[in-house]
Symmetry: C2
Subunit: 271 residues, 2 copies
């Protein structure tokens, strides 16, 4: 049996906890791994908890009882969140991002692991203390962000499709009206993808009028499931009439002004 010092155990336990966000890890995992007493592991965890708390890097919760243990809960300080939102605004203001039709090209942002990891922590921190079973998104651009939120919350990701695929088995399809264009669209979900009575949050890249979110609420009803929270990376506040009211976002987009500059600010809750 190898011998591990407190320093070694702290590095390893930190890694294991971080890689299993919001999952209860029994202390016996660690006592076996390091061949040491539970009281020793508890002291190691006190150090990790104290470090995360002093540096505002999330927290370690203790769960009592037979199935108890400790779990890592992600977190980020208000200052870091604000800085992140400000940095995102600067990146998005680059004039080369404006494409015909006055859209903002942001696909690279949605697929940038560095940015999406932090955005995922910001959104997950908001919903983490709710008792959620899964994170729902609609394909395609919001998938990495919704995946990060699901990972940080320790739950399953559910991706609603625009069309039915025969590799999904039986599906339920709902129609919804795009709030910004008025067009009728479809969204489908495999019957195997979601258990009845699930408590869900919806995560997506860009909030326009909220038609998609309304569609998700309808679709979840078909699964006898509930939508308890909504989060976006960017909210188009230039569209004032929203079909849903309770949602959070990281950055506000007000449109593109007559000089061709995109108007972007950190969302009010972070500024």
């Amino acid at each position: 049996m190898q011998k591990f010092s407190r320093n070694n155990r702290i590095a390893a336990i930190t890694k294991i906890l971080l890689e299993n966000p919001n999952k209860i890890m029994g202390l016996n995992n660690f006592t076996e791994m390091f061949n040491t007493a539970k009281s020793t592991i508890s002291e190691d965890i006190v150090v990790i908890r104290d470090t995360l708390s002093r540096l505002d890097m999330g927290r370690i919760d203790t769960v009592a009882g037979a199935a108890g243990g400790v779990k890592y809960i992600c977190g980020i300080s208000p200052e870091k969140t604000k800085k992140f939102a400000e940095k995102l605004c600067i990146i998005l203001k680059n004039r080369e991002r404006i494409i015909p039709g006055n859209f903002l090209y942001m696909t690279d942002i949605m697929f940038n692991p560095n940015i999406i990891h932090t955005a995922g922590v910001v959104l997950a921190s908001i919903f983490i203390d709710m008792d959620i079973d899964c994170v729902v998104t609609v394909e395609t651009k919001g998938i990495p962000l919704a995946y990060e939120v699901a990972k940080m919350m320790g739950v399953q990701l559910v991706v609603v499709r625009r069309e039915t695929k025969f590799t999904e088995g039986s599906t339920i399809t709902v129609n919804y009206v795009s709030g910004s264009t008025g067009r009728i669209q479809n969204m489908s979900l495999s019957k195997k993808a979601l258990k009845k009575g699930s408590r869900c949050i919806f995560i997506d890249d860009f909030m326009k009028a909220g038609g998609t979110a309304m569609g998700i609420i309808d679709l979840l009803k078909e699964f006898e499931s509930e939508l308890l929270g909504i989060g976006f990376l960017i909210d188009n506040v230039g569209i004032p009439k929203k079909l849903v009211q309770n949602y959070v976002s990281i950055v506000d987009f007000e449109g593109i002004n007559e000089n061709g500059n995109a108007l972007l600010t950190p969302s009010k809750m972070f500024s």
Copy 2:
């Protein structure tokens, strides 16, 4: 200024390195954060490096020079990889996964953060020492896996679309022939999504005949870019004629036998 013990610093530095895989972190980040000497931080990092190496949990590399520092490289032991592949086979063998047309329902697996994180580490470890600029996938099911691989490799994710979208700006579209069905299909990528001369790997959920991989090679040529590696979660080895030869996968799927059992084994490279 708060005082941090070696234990505190080790917990915090472990977290920061893990959250920035394959990114060089200058030691001055840490000396400023903890108001301590470079030699002290170096000693902290020796402890972390030693721990990861003894537990086969990845490694810490030192990069010399003015822009130098340390970086975390993900890794997983051959035993853990084998156990993971075996566990995946057991999950996939569940008879309820067989859907009409003798497909295996695996969408929930592709969207399960726990499974996909480990699968991402397994695949990233294979390609990590190549000098790669981005990870390419085709929407939709492979996106979380490709995202994890990109994150672990510290590079951008690029998602090829099945249809063009007006929020993507100018796109390049190629036709390709599905190797298993013989049908002609499209794939598109925004001209903004990939720089000329990029070195790429392709990650996807399921390998059939390799038609999609061939399409990716063609598409990358249009961007004067190169495909240097291919990785899948599952390889359908029941289709013996493959259009591409050099690829890796975690699990082999041989089809469904006359008793209605899915034939699944860990890929030869892990068994």
